[in-house]
């Protein structure tokens, strides 16, 4: 059983990445084409500004290409690149001295239950969700997108944001509640 796991464990070498390592210039362009759109949207959801997201995308690719030789398939290339994009996006918010943790000071860390999130009434449409995500405060938006869109779990988000697991959980609950509230409002107006 263990032997079987060991065989399946290593990530297959990415042919495109290997060609880039050999200096094939077309493969660099292909690699960019493959990941640019997804990475741009990931960054855009966090920084909420397309100009900033483009700068981050550019920096992330330049850094990734520069350190491509040290990339050793501990994860897929896409996951590695996404981590670079997310770290750069969060650092961008930090540099702008934007709060990464939004705490409603009148109700300190009161965690709402899942049941209070009245999702059923909300018509879920892509455009409405996108619009509502944009309206969230920076801290809420970051935690929510990392969890809902990028598939990171609470522990990973806690590590990225350098906060406790509990804080992430609270933030996420509040963010989600706020998001549903915004979608509801948007639906009415």
């Amino acid at each position: 059983m263990q032997a079987f796991l060991e065989i399946t464990a290593p990530i297959l070498h990415d042919e495109l990445v290997e060609k880039c390592k050999q200096g094939d210039r077309k493969s660099y362009a292909d690699l960019y084409q493959k990941y640019a759109k997804a990475m741009f949207n990931t960054s855009l959801r966090i920084v909420n500004n397309s100009g900033d997201a483009e700068d981050i995308l550019q920096d992330a690719f330049v850094d990734a290409f520069a350190s491509l030789n040290s990339f050793e398939y501990r994860s897929t290339f896409g996951a590695w690149l996404k981590k670079i994009v997310i770290n750069k996006s969060i650092n961008h918010l930090r540099k702008k001295k934007m709060d990464l943790i939004d705490i409603d000071k009148t109700q300190v860390a009161e965690v709402p239950n899942e049941e209070t999130l009245d999702e059923k009434d909300v018509q879920l449409k892509v455009e409405e969700i996108k619009k509502a995500v944009k309206l969230l405060p920076n801290g809420y938006r970051t935690v929510l997108t990392l969890y809902l869109f990028e598939g990171y779990d609470h522990e990973e988000i806690a590590e990225i944001l350098n906060v406790t697991h509990a804080t992430v959980r609270t933030q996420y609950m509040r963010a989600k509640q706020k998001l549903i509230g915004l979608i509801k409002q948007g639906g009415i107006s």
């Binding site: 660099y28 290409f65 999702e119 909300v122």
Partner: protein, 238 residues
Amino acid sequence: MSTRLDQFINDNRGDFDDQMPTPKVWDNIQYKVFPEKKIETPVVKMNFMKWSAAAAAVVLVALGAWFLMRTNHSNEVKPNNSSEIATVKPTVPEKKIDTTTVAPKIDEKSTPQIATTNDIKKQADKKTNDVVDDAEANAKEEMYHFAKLVEIKHRELKTMSKDEPLLYKQFSGDVNKLDSVYHSLEDRLSKKQNSEEVLEAMIQNLQLQMQLLNHQLQIIKQLNHSKKSAYDKAYQSI
């Protein structure tokens, strides 16, 4: 634990990634990752230079053929002048070397042309025995030919040295030194002093200029070649 919102986003994940970055992002990345992107420009320049050099070589051969045809036609060569023509001969193979190194494509075309010019020369040599005429006119014609060649070479050097203005300055300085000597000889010729000797000296001077220019062109070609291989090397290492 998966709620409806989570499920919806999961199911429609691709639709949320609908924004596209502008093309300038990739341009900037390329500029930073491949700083030697300029490599394209020298490559084009090289081609342009190659073509201009090839064109110059064609003109050179055509001019040589035209000149020899003219001498053959006029039938005005003195017997004692054949020695002078003999000294001229080595420059013809030199021309041949030049055309092959500058433009290998043109080689096939130019070689037969040179062969015909050699034939014409042989005919001219034969006819020298029964032709007796003015040496000065002939020498002047020869000089005109050399002066034209020197001019062409000079132009060729100029186009090839665009990237090396300092080198070009040095090179043209050397050529100009010889040229000034040529002009002083010209003055002496106009004063009719030892005209035959002066003419010979002038021809020798032009030959020297030709050799010098050929040598300089060779250096520049080598320089360009090493530059190109350096670029290639840098490009491969990325």
